[in-house]
């Protein structure tokens, strides 16, 4: 079971308290009505799913209930870092832009 650091609680807590919430840094477009079908498809469905460091959202659902972002290595399963929602994507070695 992973230990995940909640950036709001500032504590390492067991994975059981958290829920995964998909890829991070996807911004809901403000001009959705103007988007072509292809553009909207890209926003709604297309995900990077790289091997290695991924940026993803987690929710401390059985804790402070906040959503936050994390960089996790899908090969080792290790969390590289976690940070608050709204903070910029950190520059990390091995991570795709």
């Amino acid at each position: 079971m992973l230990l995940i650091r909640c950036p709001y609680c500032e504590e390492d807590r067991p994975e059981l308290e958290f829920r995964h919430a998909g890829e991070a840094h996807l911004v809901r477009p403000s001009n959705m009505d103007a988007m072509s079908d292809a553009e909207f498809e890209r926003f709604l469905f297309i995900r990077q799913n790289p091997k290695g460091v991924v940026f993803e959202r987690w929710r401390h659902v059985h804790g402070c209930a906040r959503f936050f972002n994390a960089a996790r290595d899908t090969i080792t399963d290790k969390f590289v870092t976690t940070y608050k929602a709204g903070e910029p994507k950190p520059t990390l070695e091995g991570a795709e832009e």
């Binding site: 009505d33 988007m35 909207f40 929710r59 659902v61 290790k78």
Partner: protein, 998 residues
């Protein structure tokens, strides 16, 4: 009853402490401290089982957890029949009842042994080849018969009466294995004050010191030192020593799972003790001191009872005081087996020969054996044995061939060397590295905060091992943040033991052209020939070889077989061993019971049960409940003589004729509060909210971004900045999650609080023409007239003197109210309402009547009539979508090409022209009943009931292009005939909706 193979004066058991047990119904005597294996051996019993595939007679291979052969059933009583217990691990207790497995009619005379003669049928991959034709026979004939003939023990046929426990624990340093390395590391780490957990699978930790006779530490015999160390550790407050406990799984971030056997060794376990306990330990640092497991030699018929590992023979002799035979041969490629020969000889057992595959063995063990006059046959091999149910002779031949010389023996100890137990290290995702000189895989690059020490790290020399263990213990404590202070313990040790040498793969007599069965994996009956065949048939990867032959599978997970199998495959492939690679080690290290894994999560504690405040009343009234998620909901309230059909019909009729009370407390309820509450609702629901006046309600639809319906519910606007949102019963948690997600991440600029209030409000629906009369006498401060409180409005006031949020709304199509009161008052208010209701001939109704009544009105249930691929338009709820709104979640999604294309499934009503056939929910619809199978299915029934109020059956269905099919005839093909139906609108009762208003 004297045990003929127990040697007076040998071993550590007390002769006076006799224990009685049975094996296959026969009575035997053993001693306290025996395992089932040692006690049977003391009585001269070697034959204890039949093998998995060939039903070959089998005895004990080992004296520990790696045992592949000696699996027995242990029975305590009718409900406690544990199959596949390793006799080498099971501690003896008075009255123990053991039975052999996988034999019929008896262990000595087993009909299934015919498989041994028919073995060409059962060679590697036979499952995939032999039983392929005719195809239909697999299911009816081959599979049942194979399952009956193969396999291990029989699962118990009664519920497990025992209870199991679970604990979480945290520590600075977790040490796995209580041999000399683990104990030393524990002493060194414990001295620093660090919180230590030490785990050992034995009742008395000692590791190899259990059988070694040549090791002295701190001036004491090895075993005595180990027991003194255990005493020292037990006396320390910062040390938690767990015995009879196996670390079976190493998970991420130093989470190690342990299985503690609490009562398996007791004759009469106390009822309040758990049988086993699962530990989940989070350690800052882990020290693996898991030792090494001896390998057998691979030669023809090496599975005959009486042929064992050399270390096992030593264990039985030096610990249990049992000789495994009277005339014991040794076959080895390794030094350590010489010590077995020496110990046996000194105990008075005849050792006619040591056969060593090596040409010129040297070392203290060899010298000692020679000094005792034991004949050493160097450069020779055992190429076969005589005897079937017990070995009677070993056939010795020079490596290069020549005459075969049989030497009579009644037991044969073999050693091909030692395999470091890197299981946990590998489970921790550490990479193993091949040590060519030692022919073994050792821990390489680690992935977690752990270190391997001792035999599992390939450290054979005792002095090296002790300093490695002390260093590991101190460094682990330091890494865990503990000041280590003084220099650490100093231990003086001497050892005459030697572990060097060894071979992997098949020996002479088991080479490619040999005839006999030379077993690599005993438990799965995999021979050297099978592995060669797998390679010949094209298996290149060791993972494929494993699956094709089943080598290394089954409960022992290849503890003794993996390296041999790998070496044979590598030789066949013409590759080096590390180039072929090792199969992945997976948890559990040894089998773990389902009881331990499930522990508390069984019966009532499997899943929480949620009950509403009104549940006790419904129960007292004889309600029949149904499970809705974790909730128990009253389904119907049968009266004397009523079945479900009669009760539901009466309830449905009564609601429309008078009124009914319904417990709607399970509805999800979320309070949306803040200056931007309405803006937030605008974004999360399809409907417009800004202009909804306080005091009014609206039916809202929530979409996901993809445009599909996610949830629905009535929302009451209590104040400009406060809405009371209801969700479906099953959707409460995910709707809140969905709202929080958008509020926290997409719309964080909105000033809104979301609070789950599902359990704070009990909800009593009062529905029917008499509903106002029922609630009126109890309500204070709210004008209930149609003018003051029309349909779809909400008021705050009091009922029965307690606060209420009173909704005028309806899920039945009748005039109706939903009375929200604080949950603590739920039952009292219900009872007061019930007293009023009875005066008006009203009834209590359950979820079944609720379903029928709403279906009569065509109201959908999200999740029943929709399935996550329905749009608002599909289900006829276009009117609830605010088309002028600039944005809401799902707005763009709704406009995706496939969601607006023609030919989508749409919600329609169905009527049975015969006026009586109730369709099955889930049944499929076709347009042409005469089409050949497979027919073109154009839809399915989502809801279907008998409607007492309509006098005919009603159904809702999702049908391709359904909205354009009004009046069409469709067909429902069922196993006993095709039913004709007519497509209608979805409202079956009171189409104009007059009843809602009075």
């Amino acid at each position: 009853m004297s045990a003929p193979y127990r040697i007076a004066g040998k071993g550590r058991l007390t002769p006076a402490r006799a224990v009685r047990f049975t094996f296959d119904g026969k009575h035997y005597a053993g001693l306290e401290g025996d395992t089932l294996a040692s006690a049977l051996l003391a009585n001269g019993v070697h034959l204890v089982g039949r093998s998995f595939k060939y039903h070959r007679p089998r005895g004990f291979l080992s004296a520990g957890a790696e045992e592949p052969n000696a699996l027995v059933g242990v029975h305590r009583d009718a409900a406690r029949k544990t199959p596949n217990v390793r006799a080498t691990v099971q501690e003896l207790y008075d009255g123990l009842e053991a039975v052999s497995q996988n034999r019929w009619p008896s262990l000595a005379l087993d009909v299934g042994a015919i498989n041994d003669l028919a073995s060409p049928l059962f060679s590697a991959g036979f499952y995939y080849k032999t039983f392929m034709w005719p195809k239909a026979a697999w299911k009816r004939f081959y599979e049942p018969n194979i399952r009956a003939a193969a396999g291990l023990g029989v699962a118990p046929d009664q519920a497990d009466p025992d209870h199991y426990a679970a604990r979480y624990a945290h520590c600075d340093v977790l040490i796995v294995g209580g041999g000399v390395a683990g104990l030393t590391a524990a002493l060194a780490a414990a001295e620093t004050g660090a919180r230590i957990m030490l785990v050992d699978e034995q009742a008395e930790p000692a590791g190899a010191l259990r059988y070694e006779s040549g090791t002295r530490i701190d001036g004491q015999d090895g075993w005595d030192w180990a027991q003194a160390a255990v005493q020292t550790l037990r006396g320390m407050d910062n040390v938690h020593l767990l015995t009879r406990t196996t670390a079976f799984g190493y998970y991420t971030q130093n989470m190690v799972a342990l299985s503690e056997r609490v009562t398996e060794h007791l004759a009469e376990p106390q009822q309040d003790l758990p049988r086993e306990r699962l530990w989940q330990v989070r350690a800052k640092r882990v020290i693996l001191a898991t030792g090494a497991i001896e390998r057998h030699m691979v030669f023809a018929n090496n599975d005959r009872p009486g042929i064992m590992l050399a270390s096992a023979g030593r264990s039985y002799l030096n610990h249990h005081g049992v000789a495994v035979g009277r005339r014991v041969g040794i076959y080895t490629a390794n030094d350590s087996a010489y010590h077995a020969a020496v110990d046996l000889k000194q105990a008075g057992v005849d050792v006619p020969a040591i056969v060593d595959l090596r040409d010129n063995p040297q070392g203290p063990g060899v010298d000692a054996a020679r000094a005792l006059g034991i004949p050493i046959h160097a450069g020779r091999a055992v190429v076969g044995v005589a005897g079937r149910q017990r070995v009677t002779a070993m056939n010795v031949q020079a490596k290069g061939g020549g005459a075969v010389n049989p030497i009579p023996v009644d037991a044969l100890l073999t050693s091909a060397g030692w395999t470091p137990s890197v299981h946990l290290f590998s489970q921790s995702r550490g990479k193993v590295a091949y040590d060519d000189a030692g022919k073994r895989f050792l821990p390489g690059v680690g992935a977690q905060d752990c270190v391997s020490i001792g035999a599992c790290n390939g450290t054979d020399d005792l002095d090296d091992l002790l300093s490695e263990a002390i260093k590991a213990g101190r460094e682990a404590a330091k890494a865990a943040g503990i000041a280590t202070g003084r220099a650490g313990p100093k231990l003086k040790a001497t050892s005459s033991e030697s572990w060097s040498g060894g071979m992997i793969g098949a020996g002479p007599g088991a080479d490619a052209d040999s005839k006999g069965k030379a077993f690599v994996d005993f438990q799965n009956d995999v021979t050297a020939k099978d592995i060669r065949q797998a390679v010949r048939e094209g298996m290149q990867s060791i993972e494929h070889v494993k699956r094709f032959t089943t080598n290394g599978m089954a409960t022992d997970q290849g503890k003794t077989s993996n390296l041999h199998g790998l070496a044979i495959a590598a030789e066949m492939l013409g590759k080096a061993v590390p180039a072929v690679g090792l199969t992945t080690f997976r948890a559990p290290y040894t089998p773990v019971t389902f009881g331990a894994l499930a522990n508390y999560s069984r019966g009532d504690q499997f899943d929480p049960t949620r009950r509403t405040a009104i549940h006790p009343w419904a129960e007292a009234k004889g309600a029949v409940f149904e499970d809705v998620g974790q909730w128990k909901r009253a389904r119907y309230f049968p009266r004397a003589g009523e079945d479900m059909f009669a009760a539901v019909n009466r309830e449905c009729r009564t609601v429309r004729e008078a009124a009914g009370l319904f417990d709607a407390s399970t509805l999800g309820k979320i309070e949306v509060v803040g200056p931007d509450a309405a803006s937030f609702m605008e974004l999360l629901y399809t409907n417009p909210w800004q202009k909804l006046e306080p005091g009014r309600c609206r039916y809202g639809i929530m979409l996901r971004e993809d445009g599909f319906i996610y949830d629905d519910g009535v929302v009451g606007r209590l104040a400009p900045d406060r809405s009371h949102v209801t969700t479906t019963t099953g959707g409460a948690a995910r709707v809140l999650n969905h709202m929080e997600d958008y509020l926290q991440t997409e719309f964080p600029h909105l000033k809104v609080y979301l609070t789950s209030v599902s359990e704070q409000w009990a909800v009593i629906a009062v529905q029917g023409p008499k509903s106002r009369e029922i609630i009126a006498p109890l309500v204070e401060g709210i004008d209930l007239s149609d003018a003051a409180m029309p349909h779809m409005s909400v008021r705050e006031g009091k009922i029965c003197g307690v606060p209420t949020r009173l909704f005028r709304m309806s899920f039945t199509g009748e005039r109706g109210f939903e009375v929200n009161v604080p949950a603590d008052y739920g039952q009292a208010v219900w009872e007061a309402l019930w007293a009023e209701a009875e005066k008006h001939g009203a009834c209590a109704y359950g979820t079944e009547a609720m379903h029928v009544l709403r279906a009569e009105k065509g109201y959908i249930i999200v999740g029943q009539d929709t399935d996550g691929t329905a749009t608002a338009s599909d289900v006829g709820l276009d009117w609830a979508v605010g088309k002028k709104k600039a944005d809401f979640v799902g707005k763009r999604g709704m406009a995706r090409p496939d969601l607006v294309a023609a030919g989508r499934k749409q919600l329609v009503g169905l009527r049975s022209p015969d006026g009586k056939t109730v369709l099955e929910e889930g049944a499929h619809l076709v347009a042409d009943p005469n089409q050949k199978v497979p027919m073109t299915m154009i839809g399915h029934v989502t809801s279907s009931y008998w409607s007492e109020n309509c006098g005919h059956p009603i159904a809702l269905a999702m049908v391709v292009d359904g909205h354009n099919r009004m009046g069409e005839k469709l067909f429902v093909p069922m196993p006993n005939g095709t039913i004709e139906v007519e497509v209608t609108g979805t409202v079956f009762f009171d189409e104009t909706g007059e009843r809602l208003h009075g």
